[in-house]
């Protein structure tokens, strides 16, 4: 049976991963886009991104676009795998109801 993942299950982190999983592998979203979409504060989003990055589930790419700093976030292969397993575990719990 698939295991639930405690790092991913936290509501904000679950939604962050859901956004990143909607994109194709390797595609990235801007920090501000993610913040606006999820309607969270800069600090809150930053803290949850750090947790996901430390776990190896996302890659954070800090770069400059037209001389302005930008932070792009993408799900890693490990993150995509763990998220799929987490969703499968959630579905299994529902089916066993």
């Amino acid at each position: 049976m698939m295991e639930l993942n405690e790092t991913i299950h936290q509501p904000v982190r679950l939604r962050i991963m859901a956004v990143l999983m909607t994109l194709d592998a390797g595609d990235e979203v801007d920090f501000t886009y993610l913040r606006d979409l999820l309607q969270v504060s800069d600090g809150n989003l930053g803290a949850h991104l750090r947790k996901l990055e430390e776990a190896g589930y996302i890659a954070v790419n800090k770069t400059f676009v037209e001389r302005k700093p930008r932070t792009y976030i993408a799900a890693t292969d490990a993150g995509r795998k763990v998220f799929k397993e987490h969703v499968a575990a959630l579905e299994a719990i529902l089916k066993s109801k």
């Binding site: 509501p11 994109l23 979203v29 801007d30 886009y33 979409l37 999820l38 930008r70 959630l90 579905e91």
Partner: protein, 189 residues
Amino acid sequence: MNISPKEAEEALASIHNVTQKTRHSIAAGGASISLIATGIVWLIGFTATQFLTAPLVVWIWIVTSIVGSVFAIFMGLRTGKRVRITSSAMMGKRIAIFWVLLALFAAAAIAVAHPTDGKQITTLIILFAMIGQMGMGLLLSFSATWWTVPVAAVALIGYFFAPGWFYLWMGLLGGGVMIALGLYIRFRW
């Protein structure tokens, strides 16, 4: 880690909501801007065609098309900075090739059909453009496809049932439908 079925259901619903929101947000960014820009160009260009005559009408079309395209490209680039698609360069090349080929096919079809007036040429160009938009929509995002059907329907109704006011019809209804759809996608979707 153990959770109740209710918690699992809530988590899955949350994932579903965010996934939908993300898809709409990405599709809405490009589609709404290009729809509004094209709608404004049609509104001005076709209304001018109905009431004004040749060199002035040609200049109005050229100026509005250039301004509309520059605006749509500028806004598209702004949206593109928020979501970076790794395959976008290759995809962009294929999209450009597709539109060039479609334009050639449209020109060939118009040459073969040899339409006798501007209304026929306009309707054929609109139908080819809608076919192209539909093809792009189906390839890139199904949600960007449906709006081509009401626009094509407006063109055909105008062509067959309001030939005397065809250009005004296309300006107000064709352009109006595009602007309304663009605003709907942007603010209500």
